[in-house]
Amino acid sequence: MVTEKNTIGWSRNEMAQKVAADIPDGSYVNLGIGIPELVADHVPPGIEVIYHTENGLLGMGPVPEKDLADPELINAGKKCVTAIPGACYFHHADSFTMIRGGHLDICVLGALQVSKEGDLANWSTGAPDAIPAVGGAMDLVAGVKNIWVITEHNTKDGKFKLVNQCAFPLTGKQVVTRIYTNLAIINVKEKNLYVREMAPGVTFEELQRLTEAKLINESGK
């Protein structure tokens, strides 16, 4: 039931490229930790995107040369980054004014599960010995206009991630507007999942088989 990596579907970098291609010029974007971080590497030339990192920087630039790394210039994943000309620093309350106040255009996050209504679970498996850790995810999904999820279509052991109802604790209810997986790009509209595009070699029937929630095909294929 598992789709093998590198045999069918997009690679992580291809997924990130698909996300990057959808970011309008001039957008203010927050990229979550993990796969979302790859998106910045794929923004097409001529497109200017301003990256926000919730620990207090607007205008985040790429990872520095190793000997130029400054442990006091980091991103939300606590990796060393750089600042572009025209960047600015601010404190945490101001940073979350940007997030909660609706000033960011797009946030790209990872997911454990997404429901057909756009509910997101991405902070806790609810396992009794797991240390719960939420970070800024709940603020991001509550405040940013467009919440895009980038994720493998299924778990490593072949379980559904796009489900009818999230079993894991929610990060936010009806917040996700688009899902990029290794198999498809799916829009969440009016509590339904609409397939916009499928990876080469993926059929709609196959995609539905790998998805618990009912899909509606808008891909034209």
């Binding site: 301003i50 000309p85 025209g86 909660r100």
Partner: protein
């Protein structure tokens, strides 16, 4: 490419519509975007709700906007000042509405509007007429009044220096309401004395991050409102 610079004040305010709520920065004349206000008079939008700490002086700037009957309602903390005659006259004739808000509550309501906080509790105005009709609630044995966020359709703000991203710095006490108003409006329109290349403003010293600004127009020699008032000038000239 991001370029928020607009080349005329007329273009900067062109889409302000009748009935809009507009925040206007300034504490008295310090920080008041007088050229943007005058352009709004030329533009002519009516039935405006204006959020600003005062109501203007003499017959220029905000006072002129009010005298021109474009303002339906003022939300402010201190509607009378030394040279303020336009607002008091209209108010006493019942021709303009007033929502009087304590200055700190006004600031916090604007900040809340920008920060996605719909309401908060404050000790200011408890047991006074300005708390009448509002929810009062006890926390840790003390009474607080619930106040709601204020948002605006537009903010008109004056700053010292801006870049094309909309990063701003201000001059001295002309900063006042500017930074919070930038966060609380759908469209923030800024007049800047100087425009510089991105990176010229030290990233540690940016006061308003560009994300809060939509349009920047350069006004290299802004008028000195108190001189205009002293000279009995009136806008439109």
């Amino acid at each position: 490419m991001i370029n928020k610079i607009i080349y005329s004040t007329a273009e900067a305010v062109a889409d302000i519509f009748d009935g809009a709520t507009i925040m206007i920065s300034g504490f008295g004349e310090a920080g008041s975007p007088i050229e943007l206000i005058h352009q709004l008079i030329d533009h002519g939008a009516k039935n405006l709700t204006v959020v600003s700490n005062n109501t203007g002086s003499g017959l220029v700037g905000l006072a002129a906007l009010i005298e021109n009957k474009q303002v339906k309602k003022m939300i402010c903390s201190f509607p009378r000042t030394a040279n303020s005659t336009v607002f008091p006259e209209l108010y006493n004739k019942g021709e303009i509405e007033l929502e009087l808000v304590p200055q700190g509550t006004l600031a916090e309501r604007i900040r809340a509007g920008g920060a996605g906080i719909p309401a908060f509790y404050t000790p200011s105005s408890v047991n006074t007429p300005l708390a009448d009709g509002k929810e009062v609630r006890e926390f840790n044995g003390q009474l607080f009044v619930m106040e709601h966020a204020i948002k605006a359709d537009f903010a008109l703000v004056k700053c010292l220096t801006a870049d094309r991203y909309g990063n701003l710095i201000y001059n001295k006490t002309a900063r006042n309401f500017g930074p919070i108003m930038c966060t609380a409006a759908q469209t923030t329109i800024v007049q800047a004395k100087h425009i510089v290349e991105p990176g010229t403003i030290d990233p540690e010293t940016v006061v308003t991050p560009g994300i809060f600004v939509n349009r920047v127009v350069q006004v290299s020699n802004p008028a000195d409102e108190s001189k205009l008032v002293a000279d009995n000038r009136r806008y439109p000239w």
